[in-house]
Symmetry: C2
Subunit: 563 residues, 2 copies
């Protein structure tokens, strides 16, 4: 059967994008081929806002067929954090049928080579990009993200991260040539001559274990890094956030088939309620790579038990902002207020602990006491979220009842500096929308440590009073070392304090944002430029996206012969 998409055409179409991506991961300047603006879609074969919404609506209340081998049942029970049941059923796999089918797909995909694989991956991403509006609704109604964030973070930003992974995968595979002629002089005798061929080979089946809050953004790096290095990818979505990854699998299978490859290179593993299929899959001998985003407990379990696989984990952490001093007090407050509010603090990068000297800080608006800082920050949050419609568009909905329970319990953990407010979503009255709570804790009291050194995922921050900035720096060090951190923020006008903060982040391996007062927030990273996490502290054993994230997903097999 002739492929509808030839390798030549795919390479011709996507090589310029790949080349620009290759250049950008070297310069780390700004670049993205995926538009952020909702109105950028609707032409050139891309779905408009209305068409995207219609496409999403058409998925609801029915089976989502993928034509995978080994489907033994149908399962699904997603309920939108905004209220509606999605009513979609997905294929449940008989893994003894599905895994062998995926393995059988390997040789042709491996033999296609790195460039063809990259081009096929870019075609998959291009088709996903064209359906960004459809994905936006899918992400919104599984993660609880507000629509605009679901469109941007779940769409172009996730696609960027996928492309970034393809780019690293490509460059790492082609750094060894396909063949070499080796000739070793032997003095007066004839040289020794060998012809050597080098083939990047995949490890085996890659398992992607998706998360509830960022199914595409956190899923695409591992998915595309594995696929681009030749591995079939089995996608096990979070049971509350199946749809965005099911759509992804469907697009990938379509493109693979059109390009003449076995669509079983990408498959979905939806699970029955309470089945815990991830544990079963993770220990299968065919599974050689695992990408996981989620709780520390299961991440640690995977690292300890899935010994046959390369395991890449992003787990829990405790993110800190050190507040020492600022020359832009209003900017600092506005920036922090936004960071704490965005998606109700349900980002792995949201600050949790604000370390503030109990004697206050210096600012361009004069000295501010600890309580004044909290009062002003609370006012900033209040102003940002004063209008319910605007607040809903920033906060989104709480993703699940656990987050709501943590939020409600937070008031009992200390004195409340800013209380959470119950917000009515203008369109979805059943959505649970809450503004963030800020709780005061005294860092010098030993019994508070067990509170603020625990990840409290959701819209809960702790304003930890410390004796001095030096104390804050040491607490930061201990927090990163013991609990991990995806992000560190700090505000200071002191060069010495900056240097001390940098040294802690170098030694404990955490990413540092200094004095952000404008439109960039500590919880946001940009593909091709920022690393997401460091891979060097307990919050994650890998960074998105770098050489270490891709280099061990394939191996190079050498065949040598006398020339």
């Amino acid at each position: 059967m002739a492929a509808e998409l030839t390798a030549h055409d795919l390479i011709e179409k996507h090589r310029p994008t790949l080349d620009q991506a290759l250049e950008t991961i070297r310069t780390r300047a700004y670049w993205s081929p995926h538009p952020e603006h909702p109105k950028a879609y609707g032409e050139n074969g891309t779905l408009s806002a209305a068409d995207g919404k219609a496409a999403f609506d058409a998925l609801l209340g029915r089976r989502f067929d993928l034509d995978q081998p080994g489907t033994d049942a149908w399962t699904g029970g997603e309920v939108s954090p905004y209220g509606p049941e999605l009513g979609i059923e997905y294929p449940h796999p008989d893994i003894d049928v599905l895994l062998p089918a995926m393995r059988a797909a390997i040789p042709a995909w491996r033999d296609a080579g790195a460039e063809v694989r990259a081009a096929v991956c870019l075609e998959i991403l291009a088709r996903i990009s064209a359906r960004t509006h459809e994905f936006a609704h899918a992400v919104m109604h599984t993660s609880g993200q507000a629509f605009m964030m679901a469109l941007q973070a779940g769409g172009p930003h996730a696609q960027d991260r996928g492309l970034e992974a393809v780019t690293y995968a490509y460059v790492d595979q082609v750094r060894t040539p396909e063949a070499a002629d080796w000739s070793k002089p032997q003095g007066k005798r004839d040289p020794l001559n060998l012809r050597k061929q080098f083939t990047p080979v995949p490890r085996g089946i890659a398992l992607l274990i998706g998360c509830n809050t960022f199914p595409t953004w956190n899923g695409y790096p591992g998915l595309f890094a594995s696929l681009a290095t030749g591995n079939p990818v089995l996608v096990k979505p979070h049971p509350r956030a199946v749809l965005p990854l099911a759509l992804t699998v469907r697009v990938a299978r379509e493109v693979l088939a059109e390009a003449g490859f076995d669509p079983d290179l990408v498959a979905l593993a939806a699970e029955r309620p309470g089945e815990g299929i991830a544990k079963t899959l993770a220990l299968r001998p065919e599974v050689k790579i695992i990408d996981y985003t989620g709780s520390t407990a299961f991440g640690d379990w995977l690292e300890a038990n899935a010994r046959q696989a390369q395991v890449y984990t992003e787990k829990a952490g405790v993110n800190t902002v050190v507040i020492d001093s600022t020359d832009n007090y209003r900017g600092m407050l506005a920036n922090l207020a936004f960071s704490l509010s965005l998606y109700s603090g349900q980002m792995c990068t949201t600050p949790q602990n604000l370390l503030i000297p109990r004697d206050g800080i210096t600012t361009d608006a004069g000295p501010k006491t600890y309580d004044e800082v909290l009062g002003d920050l609370s006012d900033a949050v209040g102003g940002l979220l004063g209008d319910d419609a605007r607040a809903s568009a920033l906060l989104g909905a709480l993703v699940n009842p656990d987050v709501k329970a943590r939020l409600e319990a937070a008031g009992g953990l200390g004195e409340v500096a800013l209380a959470s407010r119950d917000i009515t979503h203008p369109e979805f009255p059943d959505a649970v929308v809450r503004s963030p709570v800020i709780v005061k804790l005294d860092g010098s009291k030993p019994d508070t440590e067990s509170v603020y050194l625990d990840e409290c995922f959701g819209p809960v921050s702790f304003a930890v009073a410390v004796d001095s900035t030096a104390d804050a720096v040491e607490l930061l060090r201990r927090t990163i070392r013991d609990k991990g951190a995806m992000t560190v923020g700090a505000y200071t006008t002191s060069a010495d304090t900056e240097r001390a903060l940098e040294e802690v982040c170098f030694e404990e391996c955490a990413q540092l944002s200094l004095n952000l007062t404008g439109g960039v927030y500590v919880n946001q990273t940009a593909a091709f430029s920022d690393f997401h996490g460091s891979g060097g502290n307990p919050a994650a054993n890998a960074a998105l996206c770098d050489a270490a994230f891709v280099a061990n997903r394939f191996r190079v097999v050498e065949v040598r012969r006398e020339a």
Copy 2:
């Protein structure tokens, strides 16, 4: 204190070598800056044969001081496999003193940057290279390698592997720029501008656990990969092979101090008899990287238990040669005879199982039965090793009593095709020198599998009779998958068989040498061109040397500020 070696001078001196190495790992053509010929040494500050021998002799029978912090005792008991006791005592570490001293050395080494670190590493290698003759005696009298092999494999080839590791470390650290200006357009509003700085940071202390047979060759890749990426390296040599690595540590400490860095960036951890210090060190929280060569049992223990560290292991494997057919029968026999004999089969790359169809093979010298092949191979080995002096120069000495015991037991495992011969070393009558044994086994008998699927390290090969070449290919697959393999060799004139062998090696991830009949042997690999192992089967979880071997020894910490 001003450094005697400035960064500028070191870079000027070594940058051309680094550039050539960078080019060579891309082309994988032949190159080495380290001469193989013994007579190449003696000028330009390098030790001649006589001076190298004198330098080695001067080390014997005394303390080997390294001026390390935290030396609480002196220990050592090396006995040359050639007979003499070395009588050298090494510092035994108080690790609660030594490890903090090593950690304290990190910041300045990190801040020096990738290029300075590479240049310092190249200076260390250059000084080691200049003392190649001294190292040759140290390797010979700890590993039992014959002098010429000790000089070449323990000298220039090991130095090449170290340089290769520095090269990969350098290129992977500089692929992210030191700084970037990021400017994201915001439509009609001002763009978002950030200044980003990227710093490669080390993981922590790296532990190198050396082996008995190739202390420098197997040790240098990990040592230099870790050091070049900013990590201090604690060298824990095999208790029978301390001297080559102690010399290495001494040279490294000298160069580091002269270049203005803390010499404690490289330190030795010699152990008391039976102390098992590797287990203690491997679990220390300061130890973040471990490189290990040795038994599967301890390698598996490290991987399972040293969870705080990145663990790179080379363990046991079972290497296979499939003998299907050849158009150069004499060449094949000569090549195999040499491979089986070199260093008494005490290489992790030596073939163990020769899979030969029981109905024989086709050759340019006519069809040969299974027994004829073994007879002719035995004759080839006999011819190669007929003269005791020449045999000693190829075989070296058995490295320890365990190898001798295995060799002596091998005769009871099956019918002996070629018996081992006791050889008298012309210079060292106490050396245990033995020619290899070849034992016949019937692959169709289930009880033989437990024999040939076990690594029998030393000069023991099994000639496994198989029903067909197809059976051999399947047995090869099972051997790699279940036991691992550092090398695979094969002889065939059939394109179909070549393709089947390649497919097995791609799928099970093993390095394949086809139809070697000349002066390159399956058990030899060349730095900058060949990979050593694949990192993808149970024999090793890493290959020497590739991007995956270095990429996770450092992380990149980003500091970003508004521009």
